[in-house]
C-alpha cells in the first residue's frame, strides 16, 4: 500500500459512496482525515508502514454519513471522486472532500482486511 518510487501502487479497494449531510450552511461527511505528504508519517497510528504518507481515516462520527456508508476508521483513502489521494498534501485532501458544489463523494478506500479477503478467496479457487 505504500509508495515505492518508480513502482505503480496497487491495492485492493472498496468503493464507498457517501452522501453529504447538510447541516445549515455546511455539508458534512462525518469523519476526520489525517496524513498527507506534508505530514509526519511516523505519527500515523493507522498505517502499517510508517513511511506511508497517504490520507487515512482517523475518526468516524457514529451514525454520520460516513459511518452509514461503510467507511471504517483506519481506511486509507486512495481516490475521492476520481481525484488521487495517495500523493496529496493534507489540505489538498481536505479540499477535495469538502467541495461545496458536490453533495456526494465516491471514495476508493483500502484496508488491510481487504487484501486478506482477496488472498483467502484466491486461495480457495484452483487456478485454471
Amino acid at each position: 500500500m505504500s509508495f515505492v518510487p518508480g513502482q505503480p501502487v496497487t491495492a485492493v479497494v472498496e468503493r464507498v459512496e457517501i452522501q453529504k449531510l447538510r447541516q445549515g450552511e455546511n455539508l458534512i461527511l462525518g469523519f476526520s482525515i489525517g496524513g498527507g505528504i506534508d505530514q509526519d508519517p511516523g505519527q500515523n497510528p493507522f498505517s502499517e508502514d510508517k513511511s506511508d504518507k497517504g490520507i487515512y481515516v482517523t475518526r468516524i462520527s457514529p451514525k454520520g454519513p460516513a459511518d452509514l456508508a461503510g467507511l471504517k476508521i483506519g481506511d486509507k483513502i486512495m481516490q475521492v471522486n476520481g481525484w488521487d489521494m495517495t500523493m496529496v498534501t493534507h489540505d489538498q485532501a481536505r479540499k477535495k472532500l469538502t467541495k461545496k458544489k458536490e453533495d456526494v463523494v465516491r471514495l476508493l478506500v483500502t484496508r488491510k482486511s481487504l487484501e486478506e479477503a482477496v488472498k483467502h478467496s484466491k486461495g480457495c479457487y484452483p487456478k485454471p
Binding site: N26, G30, S32, R94
Partner: protein, 695 residues
C-alpha cells in the same frame, strides 16, 4: 623517634620549604622512602600543576563564556587531582614510616594476606533528573537561568571529569554521555561521584564579581576539598608531633577571576552498586536554593556501573597439566596446556592454540560452585593430584589434574585459591563478564531524536495561570477584532450579533475568566469536575450554543441571551494564538491542557453550535497525549479557533496532533476560508503536528 626536621614528616606546611621543593619537583625522598613509586606520583603532580597553571592562564585570558567555563572546569579537575596525589603521597610516606617502625620493633613475618586481584570499573550513561517546579518550567518568562555542570569521578588515585553540560530549565535531566573507565580498582573500591555546577548567567564576567568576594571565593576551599584535606591530615598512629596548627596541606590556589564551580551533589558507589544494567542511586545534595549554582535536583542519579575484575579478563595462570576425567582409565592422562581465566580452565592441546584462538580441547568450569581439593599422593608419581569437581545439571563431574612436580602443583593450587578468593571478593562481577564499552574516539555523537520529556506525559489539571493567560490572550484578541473588518461570508443575521459582540467584547476583557459579569448564562471555565459544556440559550442552527470546553473563549462568548454565534470574535481566536506562539517557545502546558479538556469536552469543530451532548468517546481519545515532540502551540491555536468557529462557513478545522475531533451529530461549524488558511498555514508550518481534519 622523629625529629621535626625529618623529611619523613607527614604534613607539609603551606608555604614551607618542603612545599616549594615539591612544587619545583626537586623533592628527593629520604632514604626510608621508596623512590620509584614516589617519583611516579611526583611526576603526576608536576604534570597537574603545569596543567593547572595553563588553565589559570587560559581563564584569565579568555573572553568567551564557554571557554571560561571549560577552563574553570579543567582548573577544578587539576586541583582535585593535585590534592589526591598529594594525599596519596602523604599516605605512602606514612605507610613507609609505619613499616619502618614495625620492622624495627618486631620481626613481622611475611605478609600472609591474600590480596584480591584488581579490576576495571566503568561508569557510563550518567543521568541526573531535575525537578523543576512546573511554574518555572512552563512560564518561560524572564531570563533563562543557566548553569554549567560537570561530574568529577574519583576512584582511588584516578580522577576523571565528564564533559560540561549547560543546564537550564528546559532540560529535565542532566545527561553525561561519557564512559569513564578506571583501570586499577580493588574490590573494595569507592567511586566518588561529584556534581559541580557553576551559574552561567550573562552578567558573570570577570569584572562584575565584587573584588572582595572574588578573592574570597578563589582562595577558600570548597567543602569537599576541605573535607578531603582534613581526611588527609588525619594523623596516623605513628605520626610524630604534628606541625603546629595543622596548616592546610595545599599549594596556594591561584586566585583567578572567572567562573568557579561549586559542589552541588555527591555520592559514593562501591562494589554493591555494580550491576550490568542501569541503577538509580541517591545523591547527597549540598547547597540550597539561595546559592547561585543551585539546581533543583530530584535527588537521585542513574548510571551503569560495571566492573571487570582482572581474574575474568586476564590469564591468571597457565601451564602444562595432565588431566584425567574421573572414572576414566587411570593411565589415560591427557597432556594439555591449561589457561585459567574467568570462570573456566581452558585446556588446549598445544600452547600455540591459545594465541591462534583455536577452540580449547575442553573446558573445566571454575566458578563459585567448584570444589577443588588435593588428593593423596599418587603412589606412582609422588605428586599430589588436584581434584576439581563441578555440578553439571544434577551430576557431579570430577576432573583430576596433576603436574610434573610438586612445586607446579603447589603453584596451581595457589592459583586456584587466589582465583576463588578473587571471586569471593568481586562477588557479582564474577558471575559473568560485564561489558565495558571503551569510548571509541571516532564514534560520532548519536543523533537521538528529540526525546519527549516527562513533562510531555504529564496531564495538567487546571491551573490558574493557564486560564488567566488564555483569557488575556482572548481579551487582547477581542480588541484586535474590533478593529478588523469582518472576514468571510457571514450571513445577514450575523450582523445582529455585531452589536452584542461589541457590547460583550468590552466586557469580555474582564470576564473572560469567569462568567460572573455577564448577564447571560455564564459559562464556567472548565475546572476538572465541572461539566465542560454549558448550554446557554444561544441557539443557532437549532442547537444550544455551548462552546467547547477546551477554550476559554466560550467564556467570553457567553453573554448573549440572543441566539447567536460569534462570527468575528471567534475568528479572532484563530489568530489569537499567533501571539502565544510567538511569546512562548514552549506552550506545552496550554496545549496539553487544552487537549485534555478537548478530550473531555467537544472536539474542535463544534463550537457553540454543538449540542449539549456529552462528549463523544472518540476512538482517538485514548491516544496518549504525548507525542515525541512537544506539542506545538498550533494546537492551541487550532483549538481556539475550532472552538470559536463560526456557524456560517464551511471549512474544516485543522487540529494539531492526536486530539480527538469534535462530536458527531451536532452541526459543525467551519471557519471562513481566510481564517482557515491562516490557521492551516501555521499548523502546516509546524512539522511536528500530524494534522487531522474533519470533513
Amino acid at each position: 623517634m622523629f625529629c621535626r626536621n625529618q623529611t619523613a614528616r607527614a604534613t607539609v606546611a603551606r608555604g614551607s620549604a618542603l612545599e616549594m621543593e615539591i612544587r619545583r619537583g626537586k623533592f628527593r625522598k629520604s632514604v626510608f622512602l621508596d623512590t620509584s613509586q614516589d617519583s611516579d606520583i611526583q611526576k603526576k603532580i608536576d604534570h597537574e600543576i603545569r596543567m593547572r597553571d595553563g588553565a589559570c592562564k587560559l581563564l584569565a585570558a579568555c573572553s568567551q563564556k564557554d571557554q571560561a567555563l571549560e577552563a574553570a572546569k579543567s582548573l577544578q579537575t587539576c586541583s582535585t587531582r593535585i590534592m589526591a596525589y598529594m594525599s596519596e603521597l602523604q599516605r605512602m610516606k606514612e605507610a613507609q614510616v609505619m613499616q619502618k617502625v614495625t620492622r624495627r620493633s618486631s620481626d613481622a613475618g611475611p605478609m600472609d594476606d591474600r590480596l584480591p586481584c584488581k579490576g576495571k570499573v566503568a561508569i557510563s550513561d550518567l543521568r541526573i533528573p531535575l525537578m523543576w517546579k512546573d511554574t518555572e518550567y512552563f512560564k518561560n518568562k524572564g531570563e533563562l537561568h543557566r548553569c554549567a555542570v560537570f561530574c568529577l569521578l574519583q576512584l582511588g588515585e584516578e580522577i576523571f571529569d565528564t564533559d560540561m553540560v549547560i543546564v537550564d530549565r528546559t532540560l529535565t535531566d542532566i545527561c553525561f554521555d561519557n564512559t569513564i573507565v578506571f583501570s586499577e580498582a580493588s574490590p573494595g573500591f569507592e567511586l566518588r561521584v561529584e556534581l559541580y555546577s557553576c551559574c552561567s548567567e550573562d552578567d558573570y564576567s570577570a569584572g562584575s564579581t565584587p573584588r572582595k568576594l572574588a578573592s574570597k571565593l578563589s582562595s577558600s576551599l570548597g567543602r569537599s576539598a576541605g573535607k578531603k584535606l582534613r581526611a588527609a591530615m588525619e594523623p596516623g598512629p605513628c605520626s610524630p608531633v604534628s606541625n603546629g596548627g595543622g596548616a592546610p596541606l595545599l599549594l596556594p590556589v591561584p586566585s583567578v577571576p572567572g567562573p568557579k564551580y561549586h559542589l552541588l551533589a555527591h555520592t559514593t558507589l562501591s562494589l554493591s552498586h555494580v550491576q550490568d544494567s542501569f541503577r538509580t542511586h541517591d545523591l547527597i545534595i549540598s547547597g540550597n536554593e539561595e546559592c547561585s549554582y543551585w539546581l533543583p535536583l530530584y535527588g537521585s542519579m542513574c548510571c551503569r556501573l560495571a566492573a571487570q575484575p582482572h581474574c575474568m579478563t586476564q590469564q591468571m595462570m597457565s601451564g602444562c597439566l595432565k588431566v584425567k576425567q574421573c572414572g576414566g582409565d587411570p593411565q589415560s592422562w591427557t597432556k594439555v596446556h591449561a589457561v585459567l581465566k574467568g570462570t573456566s580452565l581452558f585446556c588446549y592441546y598445544r600452547q600455540e592454540d591459545v594465541e591462534a584462538n583455536v577452540e580449547p580441547a575442553f573446558t573445566i568450569g571454575i566458578n563459585k560452585e567448584t570444589r577443588i581439593r588435593a588428593s593423596e599422593k599418587d603412589p606412582l608419581s609422588k605428586v599430589q593430584n588436584i581434584c576439581i569437581s563441578n555440578h553439571y545439571g544434577g551430576e557431579e563431574v570430577t576432573h583430576t589434574v596433576t603436574t610434573d612436580s610438586r612445586e607446579e602443583t603447589h603453584r596451581w593450587m595457589e592459583a586456584f585459591w587466589q582465583h576463588f578468593y578473587d571471586m569471593s571478593q568481586w562477588k557479582q562481577c564474577c558471575d559473568d563478564l560485564m561489558k565495558i564499552e571503551l569510548p571509541s574516539p571516532r564514534k560520532p555523537a548519536p543523533i537521538t531524536p528529540k526525546q519527549g520529556s516527562l513533562y510531555h506525559e504529564m496531564v495538567i489539571e487546571s491551573s490558574d495561570d493557564l486560564s488567566s493567560t488564555v483569557s488575556d490572550i482572548l481579551a487582547r484578541r477581542m480588541q484586535e477584532l474590533e478593529l478588523r473588518s469582518q472576514l468571510g461570508t457571514s450571513p445577514t443575521w450575523m450582523s445582529a450579533f455585531e452589536e452584542s459582540n461589541a457590547r460583550c467584547t468590552g466586557r469580555s476583557r474582564h470576564c473572560t475568566r469567569m462568567s460572573g459579569h455577564s448577564p447571560c448564562t455564564p459559562h464556567r471555565l472548565p475546572r476538572s469536575p465541572v461539566s465542560p459544556h454549558r448550554c446557554p440559550q444561544l441557539g443557532l442552527l437549532s442547537s444550544d450554543a455551548s462552546l467547547t470546553s477546551d477554550s476559554d473563549s466560550h467564556c467570553s462568548t457567553s453573554p448573549c441571551s440572543h441566539h447567536h454565534g460569534w462570527p468575528d470574535p471567534t475568528s479572532s481566536y484563530s489568530l489569537l494564538s499567533s501571539s502565544p506562539s510567538r511569546l512562548r517557545p514552549r506552550t506545552l502546558s496550554l496545549d496539553a491542557k487544552l487537549s485534555t479538556l478537548r478530550g473531555r469536552g467537544y472536539g474542535g469543530g463544534g463550537t457553540f453550535q454543538c449540542s449539549c451532548q456529552p462528549p463523544p468517546s472518540s476512538p482517538l481519545a485514548p491516544l496518549p497525549i504525548s507525542s515525541r515532540s512537544p506539542r506545538s502551540q498550533h494546537s492551541t491555536q487550532t483549538t481556539l479557533s475550532c472552538s470559536s468557529s463560526t456557524s456560517s462557513n464551511s471549512s474544516s478545522n485543522s487540529e494539531g496532533s492526536h486530539s480527538p475531533e469534535s462530536s458527531e451529530g451536532g452541526p459543525f461549524s467551519r471557519p471562513s476560508p481566510a481564517r482557515r488558511s491562516l490557521r492551516n498555514l501555521r499548523a502546516r508550518l509546524d512539522p511536528r503536528n500530524w494534522l487531522q481534519s474533519q470533513v
